[in-house]
């Protein structure tokens, strides 16, 4: 019994130090964290962590950096609740937070090798997809993938996340980047206006060798899938990361459940044929 007692708690976080903090928009901030012992988070693109602040609580946050970025990990956090607001307002570089995870399945990027990649990011959905985008574009990995298309839409010209990186994508010869804003509120914006689906007809992808990866607000998925289907996209080549309330991360607390699936364990990444079998999924 004694040996058992000494076993670890699933709910005990390890500490990570905030090493960068940068404001993206009014609601979203960028953070870099490091473990004091220099170890990596050892995550897959598409996984998430539980970020915890003692006395405030815990919140699930998708990992925004690629595992090829060693020695640190990055999160892009929208201030919506107690934990995220506290992180934005009360913690600065040098502060420690608790981290549990990484949790979830992440993207099956091994299967994507040799394929062209079509990333479809809506708003904050760019945060988890950036992990896979950076992985794909990493110089050690780039030749494992074919063409890369990035479609990224946000509400208006003030809402861009990772603006500098988006600019670098625009400047890369091996990436086709398409941007759109839902509403043009700013005379500086000369690009596409309309929801993200309006970008899909502009992209000249080959449905026989392209993987589509989608992440965005819940309302977005149905319409993006419809538009991809209009282009004869194969269902098994469409992947999406679903948003759910992931409280424990270890398949116990029940909040993330869709039918028979615990999203924190079997997800958050699903292919479309799997999603089709889940009622209430999208």
């Amino acid at each position: 019994m004694v040996a058992n007692i000494q076993e670890k708690s699933l709910y005990l976080p390890r500490l990570a130090k905030m090493t960068k903090k940068e404001r993206f928009t009014e609601k979203e901030m960028f953070f870099e964290f490091r473990f004091d012992d220099g170890s990596n988070l050892n995550h897959r693109p598409g996984q998430f962590v539980e970020l915890s602040i003692y006395g405030i609580g815990e919140a699930p946050i998708s990992i925004s950096s690629s595992p090829t970025q060693q020695g640190y990990f990055e999160l892009c956090v929208r201030a919506v609740g107690r934990v995220t607001n506290y992180l934005h307002k009360n913690l600065d570089v040098g502060s420690y937070v608790g981290i549990r995870g990484p949790f979830g399945n992440g993207f099956p990027y091994e299967k994507f090798k040799g394929y062209d990649m079509l990333f479809i990011c809506g708003g904050l959905g760019v945060a988890p997809l950036r992990s896979l985008i950076n992985y794909t574009l990493d110089k050690t990995k780039r030749n494992e993938f074919g063409k890369v298309y990035i479609l990224y839409g946000c509400k208006n010209n003030q809402e861009w996340l990772y603006q500098k990186e988006v600019e670098s994508w625009l400047n890369r010869a091996d990436v086709e980047t398409y941007l759109t804003v839902d509403k043009c509120t700013d005379s500086n914006w000369k690009g596409n206006v309309g929801v993200i689906t309006t970008l899909i007809p502009k992209v000249n992808f080959d449905v026989n060798k392209t993987i589509a990866v989608i992440c965005g607000p819940p309302v977005m998925y149905k319409f993006v899938v419809l538009e991809l289907k209009n282009r004869n996209f194969k269902e098994e080549n469409i992947y999406m990361s679903l948003e759910r309330k992931m409280k424990c991360g270890v398949g116990k607390c029940g909040h993330c459940q869709i039918n028979n699936v615990y999203v924190c364990q079997s997800g958050p990444v699903f292919d479309l044929p799997t999603v089709r079998k889940l009622q209430e999924a999208i």
């Binding site: 058992n4 005990l12 006395g55 815990e58 819940p218 607390c253 039918n259 028979n260």
Partner: protein
């Protein structure tokens, strides 16, 4: 069914022996009903209880449970494991099956929940065979009898009990109080009690059984009855609270008055409550009461079936009794299969 025979006196002996080393929890009278409580003496126990207000689960997965103790100023936390030895005495077969489900849920996928398991490993379960009461329907979900999941199972035979052995610990205990081995006649009496029980179960599914109820649920996901139930269901979560196999939880931090020390606690949560599937952005994936009720009923009869290899409802009937508007899984299933 090899076992031992316990007279009332030897049962008293057993409990008194247990009270020396264990916290003994058993059904006691609470005003007009019964509930599991820590007893002070054998006579507190009501062996004739119909069911308890809350399932005995509350001693393994309490309504509020400290997971970590932390100190904010030092960013330090340490886990809390409760290893108090407990005897859960007098559990009916449905509740024993309920605990078996919890055992699995808290140790699946290599995610061993030591907070639950520490309590469970230090618990002894002594079951008590029962007769049906007004609300239960165990035969429809395959939990009429417990084959395992207990250390000792007591079956009433006249003035005595046949004590079936479920574990080594149970056997040692019976030997320690020098219980006599049962005779063939005792076993016959116990079998007669059990078949009497089976005959008396009147509340049941009309057209499906424990293994086909899942298919029914899958076929009727879009049935109009879910919408009809929305008119009645108050989404109060009472059914979640009294369910022996509801194990969903919320986690909250509680800071002491010095604003430095505190605890991270797990608190029972319920999928019938409006915020249960709501995410930070405000999106609620089961906004309507009908969606939440359908989720709950499917969770008991369909969604978790493959994992647990049976319905996770154990037919105890507590949810029916607790429901203000008397929503009843048996009626739902019978309406869906009509």
């Amino acid at each position: 069914m090899q076992g031992y025979i316990l007279t009332m006196d030897s049962l008293r002996n057993l409990v008194q022996e247990l009270m020396k080393t264990y916290k003994v929890v058993a059904p006691v009278k609470k005003e007009t009903r019964f509930d599991f409580c820590e007893i002070e003496k054998f006579d507190d126990i009501r062996l004739d209880y119909d069911t308890s207000i809350l399932p005995p689960k509350k001693y393994l997965s309490p309504p509020v449970e400290t997971l970590l103790r932390f100190k904010r100023s030092e960013n330090k936390a340490e886990p809390v494991f409760d290893t108090t030895p407990v005897v859960l005495f007098g559990l009916h077969p449905c509740d024993i099956k309920g605990i078996k489900h919890l055992d699995q849920a808290f140790s699946e996928n290599n995610n061993y929940d030591r907070h639950y398991l520490a309590k469970r490993e230090n618990a002894l379960i002594i079951g008590l065979e029962c007769l049906p009461y007004d609300y239960c329907f165990c035969s429809s979900v395959g939990s009429t009898f417990a084959k395992d999941g207990f250390d000792i199972m007591l079956i009433p035979i006249g003035d005595s009990y046949l004590a079936e052995v479920g574990s080594k610990k149970g056997e040692e205990l019976l030997k320690r109080i020098q219980a006599k081995p049962s005779q063939e006649l005792d076993i016959k009496k116990a079998e007669a009690f059990k078949s009497e029980k089976e005959k008396k179960i009147v509340r049941r599914f009309n057209k499906v059984n424990a293994s086909t109820v899942r298919d029914l649920m899958q076929r009727t996901w879009d049935h109009k009855h879910w919408k009809e139930l929305e008119e009645r269901c108050l989404a109060c979560g009472s059914c979640n609270l009294v369910c022996p196999t509801c194990f969903c939880f919320d986690v909250q931090d509680e800071v002491h008055i010095n604003l430095d020390d505190g605890e991270r606690r797990r608190i029972w949560d319920g999928c019938m409550l409006v915020d249960f599937a709501k995410v930070g952005s405000g999106e609620n994936f089961r906004e309507h009461r009908s969606q939440r009720l359908r989720h709950r009923i499917n969770r008991k009869f369909n969604y978790l079936y493959d994992r647990f290899n049976s319905p996770t409802c154990v037919g105890c009937g507590r949810c029916v009794r607790a429901c203000t508007v008397k929503i009843d899984p048996v009626e739902i299933v019978n309406e869906l299969s009509r």
